[in-house]
């Protein structure tokens, strides 16, 4: 096994034992990125100088015997939506193609303080709007298991990089499924924490009431380690929860015997690819064999989730993206009058999907339509949330598929927005309800003419602030199976 295939936990051990240095492994990653990124498109920016400097600093700390943590010297990469001081941050958009932030976001700071090494910034759908990473101004990302297929989005670059060992771990963001969906398509672990568990300061805003940052890793343990580092109150974010953060790795290894897992019937309907349903049902059987109980639950308002989301998210996005006006930073089109400056800068800067959502969002907030659309959608949102809370009276967590089918082919959905939006049918309700969810691999689709086996993922959805329990349940399954040990051949 190559060192780049190591998990965070494994690498950290080797670094502490001085079997490996951070500089060595960072160089390995940089080489691998140079070799494979042209084919996969996972990175927008690689920062070798910054990375090596951070690696050397980490090595020095460890040599001195300073107190180190599980991320010290560990090479990671961040979705290009995270604000990194001095390192280009584009959100995969032309409008920020030259934006180098003068400050660090909290995520970047917390990882720096933990001694992690930043390899670079990862590709994504522009401003996190997309499910396939085909809407980037910096090229499409390929699924490392089958390069003719999408990796999922919007954190496509993150999922691809972790799966292809172009970094050990990554942070992504999830507004309607953008961590879980690509994690599922790339066969890795991804967690969307409870809304407010992780700060949003330093994460470029898409939909403020839905966005959450979360780890994307090879294993559940790695995911817990990363969440330990980034979770917790941030005074810079008024919506960040001021509540203690448990030690998430402490939940790993706890038994699941006696826990109740709910299977929501609306997530196992006819439209779901039979291989996906099969894989998730098999996973439920593994849980049964471990002593968990399966319960059937219903989430009756599920079918309203996608339309609700596609009113609320674009509405908030239309306001959040108003600051990209060519005045203070980012792309500015040289024009003679103000209105033209605004129009041209934004037309030239934004891609088609972003433009579509801004127009949609502006419409649903406009005078005469606000009540019928935005206000109403927020009310339906409450109903969706209540569905979950009621289900949790019967079970400790829900088990469901992440995507209705494995990764589709590049270009297959790009002209059909509705079909594209329906990819998120199982992930969106969780964001609307603000709940935590953990995605992990549970199988592969069969080999077919035209593509190799594609990963299938499942998600565990929990009560607010139950990330520990989700790790517990996810880890139990992971240790019973071998999905997390598979690697794509590149």
């Amino acid at each position: 096994m190559e060192v780049t295939d190591l998990t965070v936990a494994q690498l950290s051990e080797k670094l502490v034992k001085r079997e490996l240095s951070s500089e060595e492994i960072t160089r390995q990653f940089l080489n691998r990125i140079e070799r494979l990124n042209p084919k996969l498109g996972a990175y927008i920016t690689v920062c070798p100088d910054v990375a090596l400097e951070m690696a050397k600093t980490a090595d020095l700390r460890m040599a001195k015997g300073d107190r180190v943590g599980p991320l010290t010297g560990v090479p990671i990469a961040l979705k290009d939506i995270f604000i990194t001081k001095g390192v280009l941050t584009t959100c995969a958009s032309n409008i920020l193609k030259n934006y180098v932030p003068p400050f660090d976001g909290t995520h970047s700071l917390r990882l720096k303080n933990a001694g992690a090494v930043l390899l670079g910034k990862l590709n994504m759908d522009e401003f996190a709007m997309g499910s396939s990473n085909e809407f980037s101004a910096f090229g499409t990302v390929k699924n490392p298991w089958a390069v003719g297929h999408v990796p999922g989005g919007s954190s496509g670059g993150s999922a691809c990089a972790v799966a292809a060992s172009l970094c050990i771990a990554s942070l992504g963001t999830d507004t309607g499924g953008s961590i879980r969906y690509p994690a599922s398509h790339c066969g890795i672990v991804g967690m969307k924490p409870t809304y407010g568990r992780v700060t949003r300061y330093g994460m470029v805003a898409f939909a403020s009431s839905l966005d959450q940052a979360g780890p994307m890793t090879k294993t559940v343990r790695d995911c817990a380690i990363l969440l330990n580092t980034i979770a917790g109150f941030d005074p810079n974010d008024s919506t960040s929860l001021n509540l203690p953060v448990p030690n998430y790795t402490g939940f790993l290894g706890k038994k699941v015997c006696g826990l109740k897992l709910g299977l929501p019937k609306e997530y196992f309907v006819e439209g779901v690819n039979p291989e996906v349903s099969k894989a998730v049902i098999e996973a439920s059987k593994v849980y049964e064999s471990l002593g968990a109980k399966l319960v059937h639950v219903t989430l009756p308002h599920t079918r309203y989730a996608v339309p609700t989301y596609y009113i609320i998210a674009p509405a908030e996005a239309s306001a959040n993206l108003a600051r990209y006006d060519g005045i203070r930073y980012g792309h500015r089109s040289k024009q003679k009058d103000l209105v033209s400056l605004y129009r041209k800068s934004r037309t030239e800067g934004f891609g088609p999907e972003v433009t579509l959502r801004i127009i949609l969002g502006t419409f649903v907030l406009s005078s005469g339509y606000y009540d019928a659309y935005y206000l109403r959608a927020q009310k339906v949102r409450t109903l969706i949330k209540n569905d979950f809370l009621q289900a949790f009276e019967k079970c400790d967590a829900l088990l469901a598929p992440v995507a209705p089918e494995p990764a589709f082919k590049l270009g297959e959905r790009i002209d059909d927005p509705i079909k594209m939006y329906l990819s998120d049918i199982f992930t969106i309700p969780v964001n609307l309800a603000g709940l935590p969810a953990l995605a992990l691999p549970c199988g592969f689709s069969g080999e077919r003419r035209g593509h190799p086996p594609l990963p299938i993922g499942m998600q565990l959805i929990g009560r607010p602030l139950s990330e520990g329990t989700l790790f517990q349940i996810g880890y139990a399954y992971e240790q019973e199976t071998k999905w997390h040990l598979k690697r794509p051949s590149l």
């Binding site: 400050f103 919506t239 306001a319 108003a322 005045i327």
Partner: protein, 487 residues
């Protein structure tokens, strides 16, 4: 046709209906949603940060002191503090608005209701206040530097906390509007929530105005005049706009609903072309901020910090100090002046005379020198001593006036000045008698004239005594002695 025309009201027979929206900058140290200083006058773009310049990935965090000051202002204006209020995004594009939206309050403002009593044109009137809410200020656009086709933006002001105070459409004249604006400013300065310096833009006013046909219930089309930052401009702009609208109506036209600015050089209102279309601000609750929950306990604590307000203070000056209404009103217009006056009185209990000195001598000098009350170098104790000296007969009123200016310029103690210049009034009867005797002896003609009934010659003699003593004789005493001697 003709009879209809004859029935149409002319010019000043219309009833103006005016409402004011006042924006006041709260006197906090830092901005509403970030920790940048709110200091005025610093070099451009030095009091900025990622939050108030709308960098990607930034979020607002509410300034508690701003909320406290807003509550205090609302209480002073008798508003009802809402236990729960929320912030909304007001969306529009303009270079001085970095996020492309202003964080304000829309559906659920901090305070509802309230009133302010004003006096205008010899009448008292209660002006209703509809609401008071918190919002952030925008940056400042500068058009006159560098190249012709280049504008600059200074974001120092961006994010400074404002309260917007919306009155009912209760004003029927420009004078009423000005009286309200003045009283409002005074109230805000009294409560220390606003510095009130209008040249620095701490207080601005938008006026909505329409004309009503008397007797009709229907309101006319209203125009809005924005950004009036002086009492003078408010009055002038309103007077002009009333007349302009009247002329339009008189000529059978309709008033256009427009947003106007006041051009002080030409003395006209003119349309803000770029804002002619009605804005759809697409207000929605800001998801980055939690609803503002204000506990009644906290409100109660804040209420206790409200000082005696102008009206109550003026009443007290009238009742306890016996000051006439006009004097009391002028003294209490500015809290600094009222405090100064009261401190003087605490040292020497002659309120009427002290009030007089302040209103005539002091205020006049302050105005001429362009000094604010807060910058007076003469401590109240000194002015009190000066007046006390007159009352005790130590110096004459004239003498006092002569050293007053020096006291103001140097801050010197009057007692020191009096002894330094040897101004102590001659109150010694024997000394004055000696001088009187001399004068009478030297001016027999005048004595004859006085005795023949020309009593005004006495004034001349008193003047002679003053001359002979270098102005130091107690004129009253001189007068008495002269009368005695001339009998």
């Amino acid at each position: 046709m003709r009879s209809q025309e004859a029935e149409k009201p002319r010019g000043n027979e219309y009833e103006p209906v005016i409402g004011l929206e006042v924006h006041a900058q709260l006197a906090t140290n830092t901005k509403l949603f970030c920790a940048c200083p709110t200091r005025f006058g610093d070099a451009p773009n030095t009091n900025i940060c990622p939050v108030c310049t709308g960098q990607p990935g930034t979020l607002p965090v509410l300034n508690k002191m701003a909320v406290e000051m807003a509550i205090k202002a609302a209480l002073a204006l008798r508003g009802k503090i809402q236990e729960k209020s929320s912030f909304a995004r007001k969306n529009y594009f303009y270079p001085d608005l970095p996020k492309g939206y202003q964080i304000s309050q829309y559906e659920f403002p901090l305070s509802m209701g309230g009133f302010l009593d004003i006096e205008a044109e010899d009448k008292t009137k209660r002006i209703s206040i509809q609401r008071i809410h918190l919002e952030e200020d925008a940056g400042k656009l500068l058009h006159d530097r560098g190249g012709i086709e280049v504008s600059h933006i200074d974001f120092n002001r961006c994010g400074v906390p404002l309260i917007e105070i919306v009155s009912g459409p209760d004003f029927s004249s420009a004078k009423e509007a000005v009286a309200y604006f003045k009283k409002l400013r005074s109230t805000l300065v009294y409560t220390d929530v606003c510095e009130g310096n209008m040249q620095e833009g701490k207080l601005r006013c938008d006026a909505n105005i329409s004309l009503k046909i008397p007797g009709s219930k229907k309101l006319g089309t209203r125009t809005e005049i924005k950004n009036l930052n002086s009492f003078k401009f408010l009055e002038q702009a309103l007077i002009y706009e009333i007349q302009r609208q009247a002329k339009v109506l008189d000529n059978g036209g309709t008033v256009l609903q427009e947003t106007l600015l006041w051009n002080e050089l030409q003395g006209i209102t003119f349309s803000m072309r770029s804002k002619e279309e009605a804005h759809d601000y697409r207000y929605f609750p800001d998801p980055d901020l939690l609803p503002l929950v204000v506990e009644s306990g906290w409100v109660g604590e804040i209420e206790k910090t409200i000082p005696e307000l102008p009206d109550a203070k003026a009443s007290r000056f009238m009742n306890q100090h016996g000051l006439p209404s006009y004097d009391a009103k002028v003294l209490t217009a500015e809290r600094g002046l009222a405090d100064y006056y009261e401190e003087c009185v605490s040292h020497h209990a002659n309120p009427k005379k002290i009030a007089n000195w302040i209103l005539t001598e002091l205020l006049c000098e302050l105005k001429e020198r362009g000094i604010a009350v807060s910058q007076i170098s003469m401590p109240p104790r000194h002015l009190a001593t000066l007046v006390a000296s007159i009352d005790e007969g130590v110096i004459s009123g004239t003498m006092a006036k002569s050293i007053f200016l020096e006291m103001l310029d140097t801050g010197k103690d009057p007692e020191a000045l009096i002894s330094e210049k040897g101004l102590t009034q001659i109150g010694d009867e024997a000394e004055i008698e000696k001088i009187v005797a001399k004068i009478i002896a030297n001016q027999p003609e005048n004595v004859k004239r006085y005795k023949s009934g020309k009593t005004n010659v006495l004034g001349h003699f008193v003047g002679e005594v003053m001359k002979a003593t270098g102005g130091k004789a107690n004129p009253k005493l001189a007068n008495e002695i002269l009368r005695k001697k001339l009998q």
